[in-house]
Symmetry: C2
Subunit: 577 residues, 2 copies
């Protein structure tokens, strides 16, 4: 089983190392096709990873991957090859670095731009404790756009410590990299004449206290080993940036030619009816035809958000700022302040970066920005750092914000259409895949909930979002066998609550179901609504207070207790109270 970790990488010949690269490449390709995961980025970084393991001494030396999705070869070389087939599966190894998985992973990552700050923290701790290991951050050119990198660079001199930053430049994040820093990197990477011209001026990185070394071919194993060996000595006295070019998807022509499509791939298929992202993008395109105020803003993931067509059709009203979630949020607030109608599309987990700007820039100014929150709820195989289970909680507390949760793609379409004339901050949150289409109870109206099942009994289930409503409907069906007829409500606006409906509800037991953390979520609003009404018992089904690991969304919900059996059992046990 231990195909790779029994290898003594320090004693292999160059030929042996080359063939190790080939084996790693094949292992990663064949596994990821089965399990799903990040493919092209991992194929591009194999030689560099092998060279790092050859030259440095892990886990004594510390290696921090920015974002962390490109750590597969590192995992295979650090004792996890036997378990590699379990990649991203519940109970198996994670697709990201995990301290709890191996001492070779010294720092967990998942969101962009954190690696240089973290490397500085490790290096500073080393200095304070009088230790002597090397600290290395590997960061892509996409992450390089994030403000965190600048903050870290800017504090290198005051911190007075030494680290190695490897800039793994492949010209891509999920979308092609944008911005002046990217152009600058390109200039450095161009032919000698251009480079000489740029080099004549002092290098930006040197201004921050780094010794700059580049540009080299990161897929050239021998070159990488030589450079790293040389730099390892330098690190005793200074910080270094090593700028390398790698080929995303290296070694497989389909991946090399389609790096965007093969950045992350899904494993085996499932019963998906439609993509929320696609419906969102298509609807926004349609609405924007008449409404010329609509602007779409993204942070480096336009295609995954369903906005490729919008960007093609309305380039003058399309803005991709790169991986700069905070900047994107403020830009939207200012566009709205000047009379436009911006839509900021973003994954739930990355919206966490914009928390302060949603409060201050959008909501305290009550500006009509629409947050289109994709991959909300359990997002699955990427694990702890990518679950979208906090958004209802962190948005609920923000004044002036309306929060909408469509029950299916049809309702998303209705919401996006209605949003175009909504003149205040709005958040719409939805998962990736639509697997159920529900019937509508009459016309969709902004701010109003919907009865999906009405009964005269005293049990009501209030649910928001497809997965929760799917559960609620299944619970309703199951309970009829016990002679219990419940009411099911589509609470499609989490904030403000539909108080008219709530006040008209005759239930003595109100059950809430949601695809979000328990604390601060939809259920907590309902608990507070009824808190001084002792005639109503409220029980919330949501995720208990812990981080949710990688696995399949439905299986995780089941495991976390947000499942049909638990809700049915609770109602049966307590219906007579």
């Amino acid at each position: 089983m231990s195909e790779f970790s029994n290898i003594d990488i320090k004693s292999l010949t160059i030929d042996g190392l080359q063939s190790l690269c080939d084996s790693l490449r094949e292992k990663i390709r064949s596994t990821v096709i089965q399990t799903g995961g990040h493919l092209s980025s991992n194929l591009g970084i194999i030689e560099l990873t092998v060279a790092l393991h050859r030259v440095f001494d892990f886990p004594y030396d510390k290696l921090i991957f920015d974002v962390g999705h490109q750590c597969y070869a590192h995992k295979l070389l650090s004792g996890r090859d036997g378990a590699f087939d379990t990649l991203r599966q519940r109970g198996g190894i994670s697709g990201f670095p995990k301290r709890e998985e191996s001492e070779y992973d010294c720092y967990n990552t998942g969101h962009a731009g954190t690696s240089v700050s973290a490397a500085l923290g490790f290096a500073k701790a080393r200095d304070i404790r009088g230790e002597n290991f090397n600290v290395i951050a590997i960061i892509g050119d996409g992450s390089f756009n994030n403000g965190l990198v600048y903050e870290a660079f800017n504090s290198l001199r005051p911190l007075n410590t030494n680290i190695l930053v490897i800039l793994n430049d492949n010209g891509m994040s999920i979308s092609p990299t944008v911005g002046s820093m990217h152009e600058y990197l390109e200039q450095l990477s161009r032919d000698d004449e251009h480079r000489a011209k740029v080099e004549k001026h002092s290098n930006i990185f040197e201004r921050f206290g780094f010794s700059y070394d580049g540009v080299f071919d990161g897929n050239d194993l021998i070159c990488m080993i030589d450079k790293l060996t040389e730099i390892k000595k330098k690190l005793q006295t200074q910080s270094v940036i090593l700028h390398v070019l790698t080929k995303k998807g290296k070694g497989y022509s389909f991946c090399e030619e389609n790096p965007q499509q093969t950045h992350g791939i899904s494993g085996e298929g499932n019963s998906v009816i439609a993509s929320y992202s696609e419906v969102f993008g298509r609807t926004l395109c349609s609405v924007a035809e008449k409404n010329k105020s609509i602007v779409a803003v993204t942070a480096a993931m336009t295609p995954s958000l369903g906005l490729s067509d919008f960007f093609s059709k309305y380039p003058e009203r399309s803005i991709d700022v790169g991986i700069c979630e905070e900047h994107a949020t403020i830009l939207c607030a200012a566009l709205a302040a000047q009379g436009l109608k911006p839509y900021y599309a973003v994954y739930s987990t990355f919206l966490q970066r914009s928390f302060d700007e949603i409060i201050i820039d959008i909501c305290s100014q009550n500006l009509p920005v629409t947050l289109c929150i994709d991959r909300a709820g359990i997002s699955g195989e990427d694990g702890e750092t990518h679950q979208g289970v906090f958004d209802l909680s962190f948005l609920n507390m923000i004044p002036n914000l309306t929060i909408a949760v469509p029950k299916d793609v049809n309702e998303l379409e209705a919401m996006v259409r209605a949003s175009s004339t909504f003149n205040a901050p709005l958040a719409i949150r939805y998962p990736k895949d639509c697997k159920i289409i529900f019937k509508n109870d009459g016309e969709f109206k902004f701010g109003e909930w919907e009865y999906l099942k009405r009964s005269d009994g005293n049990v009501a289930v209030l649910a928001c979002g497809e997965r929760a409503i799917g559960l609620a409907m299944a619970v309703g069906k199951e309970l009829t066998a016990y002679g219990i007829d419940i009411t099911v409500v589509n609470a499609r606006f989490v904030k403000p609550l539909d108080e008219k409906l709530l006040n008209g509800l005759n239930a003595h037991m109100v059950i809430t179901v949601e695809d979000n953390q328990l604390i601060g979520g939809f259920g907590s609003l309902i608990s507070q609504f009824y808190s001084d009404n002792t005639a109503v018992l409220v029980k919330s089904f949501a995720y208990a207070d812990s981080f949710i690991p990688h696995g399949k969304a439905e299986a995780l919900m089941e495991e976390l207790g947000v499942n049909k059996k638990n809700i049915v059992d609770y109602i049966l046990k307590n219906a007579d109270r």
Copy 2:
């Protein structure tokens, strides 16, 4: 009354403009001494503001102040001189730009680094709508360290629009500015020989697509008018950075010599017993003497956080990263991952910037970082953008985090001492001033609440933090006149709840009181705790779902309904239910 706004600034002679500057300076000085507010920064920017109003046409042109605390002269010149005596008073004018106050304030600010992003948004909206105004951001060198500025600069070229950024360089944020960018600005500002050396290399700002113009004396009115007139023409075809040096506190020797102490000053005195910041700093100093793992981290406000002595005594374990709250948070996580015990001290409102990093870097890795959250609860006169009323809500939802709220400075000291051996993420939140010292009920224990008043009756008030507990005790006292004896509990750990105490509580009515938003706060945890227990009525007193304007903390609490009368009335009315 309208001493300034009736002036036709376009037709004044230079002498007239100079004497206008003198009058503005005197008006600001004499007012701020009465009202409290930001003094030295506003004195430094008067000539620049007058020159801007002379050359540009506000409100047609758009002026955005970074952070916004330096907008006083602008307010005096835009119709608000008559109301200037009400600065920072409830119902009076705000100390920060406010759209709702004047059309001359086009964008509200409060937190650092947002102005360039906002300016780009306004400029892009202008281009999309085919308008033609100018957009100007004024930003200090302190804010310039924030990653947001880099994100905005990096997207200038892709956005393909024109703005003016005025870099108001006075070498200070609240603390002296740190970092390589600051050193670079200093090089540009030094004598001609140095400058020529730097200029030979291409200017960093030009790399991002700006035309760089500097360095000029920002307190030289004629020079500023000339430069701005020249730049106004340039703005038709390109973006410009104007780099000016200003003297913080300009015109008053005490302010010039003490820019740090006069950055923000308080108005008239009040009944403060002790400063939480000072007690925190003193205690950390004391604990760090034996515990060599303790490191203190700040983001540009060391003295206001009570850490000046710590930084003097333990320079090798003190880190000020500049206004980089995200970077500071990750740095702490990495220091902790490598075995140190970091304390990140920060104002509650600015901790919002670190939300994602608290989740991912600190808590998902379960690292022993202590967040020392100052100015928590209503912070008062700075208004909407500075209230610390969200922290309990946004921290409650994060797994693995313990949240402590001391009832007074003595309990803060006990908590800081106890924290030094606490091996998990911890947040301690406290306001600026301590005005009450409470009696202790026995020894302080980590995780345990405390009875401050015990009764056999069925009403219990659970409160956290000095202001809330002060109210709860006053309510208890008042109710004895009605023959009602209540229990009062110091809920000094908001998370996890002291379930042992809760389960032993015989109350049928549980009242919660806190200095935080209602949604997601302490009360919401208690509501959820009792949500399916119909024997217990829960009523929470906290701030309703809206932004809290500027004013005095106690008066605002009264006005927002978190007051003795409301709580007493509620208990009297409902005690028999």
